[in-house]
Symmetry: C2
Subunit: 423 residues, 2 copies
């Protein structure tokens, strides 16, 4: 008997039938003897519909009021889910983020969790009930206003609650079978991973894999809380996100766990930048001051004759226009020649903890790209990740080539690489 936190997304509870199916799944876990806490998102398209309603009365909804509005979505789904469970003869009690003790800062629309004080949840499950908690929402410590956690907020709620309750596992239910070695829509030979480490998952998420959000994985790593990503449509085991691969150093370990691709970025090149100390800092300070996140940066070797250099960096396409605007405003001060904006690029990343002990990864990777005729425009690396920027048109070909080059294709591998986790 353990304590299990389960998170169901909006597509799993899109209608009454989905609610009943999820309720049955929750009850099965309860019947197996576990204490169960469920985190649920708003039903189907509810959040989008509420945003549309807001936009019908104002082009710029205030953050406080928008959070008040959007949190109605989870309030509806959690109450209906509790009813559906009650209808199966099991006691279920629903709680808002505030009631569940999810305390946040006051940044409406993307609040961060400061503390979780789940006294009422503990009381509910200790009394034998199933606790249903609204995902995505909290209450601000200072103003006592309702807040929302931003994208992927319900996953973060689930992991934060699981950590605060010292749960045995946080199960994230989704419409895929788990975390894959690549996006199966792009790389048909992609396989479901049995295990990934927090570190790998963080790199995969940062590199564009959409299964789990960065924040929830960070949270899980900080508390060493196992996450089990699995399908809400099948009883099969999914992917465990844990501290270490269970085979440790004893068994053969794959060098690369996964290949991620990302089409959401654009490349900005600042041409003819005076190659003086402090100039690059000035450019990126201006970008940061406007809350724009920079991903990859490359600075060319300065041409000795001119004393000028080019600096390229990538930002989210959504922030591309804002970034070029910022740069235009400091053009006189910085003294660069011109800007080039390119939103037809793609990012390909290889992630794997095994990279640390296998120095040849970069060579293998670049050879595979060359063999496929893919030109590499930018490169960035971390301890367990290599990312490259290529033409968007080359991205899918590049992903398939890398997947094959590292022996990740399903027919290259015996069933599972790492073996079961034993959990």
């Amino acid at each position: 008997m353990g304590l299990i936190v389960q998170k169901f997304g909006g597509s799993s509870v899109a209608d009454a039938e989905g609610m009943k199916r999820v309720a049955a799944r929750i009850v099965a876990t309860k019947k197996a003897g576990h204490q169960v806490v469920v985190v649920v998102s708003a039903m189907g398209d509810t959040t989008d519909e509420l945003i549309e309603l807001a936009n019908a009365v104002t082009p710029i909804p205030q953050g406080r009021e928008l959070d008040m509005l959007l949190t109605a979505g989870e309030r509806i789904s959690m109450a209906v889910l509790a009813m559906a469970i009650n209808n199966l003869g099991f006691e279920a009690l629903s709680f808002t983020g505030s009631q569940a003790g999810v305390i946040t800062d006051s940044v409406h629309g993307k609040a961060r969790i400061i503390d979780v004080t789940p006294g009422r949840i503990r009381e509910a499950i200790d009394s034998g009930a199933i606790a249903i908690v609204a995902g995505f929402q909290g209450i601000s410590q200072d103003t006592k206003d309702i807040t929302t956690l931003g994208r992927g907020g319900s996953d973060t709620t689930a992991v934060a609650l699981a950590a605060a309750l010292d749960a045995d596992v946080c199960e994230i239910y989704t419409d895929v079978d788990g975390v894959f070695s690549a996006d199966p829509r792009v790389v048909p030979a992609a396989r479901k991973l049995t295990t990934v480490t927090y570190e790998e998952m963080l790199e995969l998420a940062a590199a564009g894999a959409k299964v789990l959000h960065l924040r929830c994985v960070e949270y899980a790593r900080r508390y060493n809380l196992p996450i089990h990503v699995r399908s809400s449509f099948s009883p099969n085991e999914g992917t465990w996100v844990v501290e270490n691969h269970p085979d440790g150093g004893t068994m053969e370990q794959a060098i690369i766990s996964g290949v991620a691709h990302d089409k959401s970025e654009a490349k900005i090149t600042v041409v003819g930048v005076p190659d003086r100390t402090g100039i690059a800092a000035r450019i990126f300070q201006a970008i940061a001051d406007n809350d724009i996140n920079v991903d990859m940066i490359v600075q060319n070797v300065s041409a000795a004759a001119t004393g000028l250099t080019d600096i390229s960096f990538t930002v989210s396409k959504a922030e591309g226009q804002k970034a070029t605007g910022v740069l235009q405003r400091i053009q006189g001060e910085v003294g660069f020649a011109s800007l080039i904006y390119d939103d037809t690029i793609g990012k390909l990343s290889l992630v794997g903890a095994g990279m640390r002990s296998h120095p040849g990864v970069t060579a293998t990777f670049f050879a595979a790209m060359a063999d496929s005729g893919v030109n590499i425009e930018m490169i960035s690396t971390s301890e367990i990740r290599i990312s490259i920027i290529v033409k968007e048109a080359d991205l899918e070909r590049a992903a398939k080539a890398a997947h094959t080059a590292f022996g990740l294709d399903a027919d290259q591998i015996e069933a599972v690489v790492y073996g079961g986790t034993g959990r």
Copy 2:
């Protein structure tokens, strides 16, 4: 400059256009120099849709969860209304019942307000903002669970908040122009009343007039808080509900203020009841023990020969089946002969503070009924009300006849009876 609480119902804020119109109305009050607190209901049919959703997963939704679900409706409308006001350049902050300090008992679905501690509302309006409060909802003192106030709950929220804030007036906006001397759909000659007393309004509400609910009028009377019932579609004065008619005893006062009718009751006759002490008490105790409200009661004179009597009473049609079930279970113990259930009756009531000083009202009323060929089945009176039960088919004819008999028809009256209130 004063403090005005305004309440808008669901039909006034059914869509974005309605929201904008109501926002403009609120802003106009603010511009006139008043502090404004607004209580708002769920948009249009939202509450019905949420109930439908609940019924799609369970035939018997738990009260706690149903309240959690339904309160999402006001959360949506209050946030959208706040946005619409913000969009006009005025600051508006929305508050849930809990945030507004509406403390209730724990009876889900029909909680009663125990206390109102509107600290955050006071703070908001003192800072110059317009406060928008969710109607119909509160938080239970004991369990800290979300509760709803039941039918007419938003009116009660508005009056309770107005009392706690010591507001100058509570304006209840509706889709009619005010309180009428009769339902204009039934009595076309009905007139809008300029003033009614709390006492009259209570009797009218109890007698089936639907404009204001009993509980909100009771609340207003207890705190001597003026209610102004008016149309959300016109700027005209509506009806003031106050302690006394402004002309007091000095001007000619109408004997009858209004005629109310009600088709929601059914008549149950218990036939052949042994006429012994305690038997009637036993019957009505059993009814009360099952939370069934009895309205009118008539006991026939006992037939000396048999020692048996008949007892008739009315209950809401919705509780008719439950009531007959209760009686069948005690038939053996009480020893009555049979039950007659009649749900084709109607209740007609005359209400007026002037009745106290005009003893001839009953005679005039009954004569009007006789002249119209309406048979009276039951009679009950209070100090300022006379109610009769007639055949449902006779009800509308009876209402028109009574309205005319007491000189209430629009063409019988010079514009207004009581004159303005001077407020």
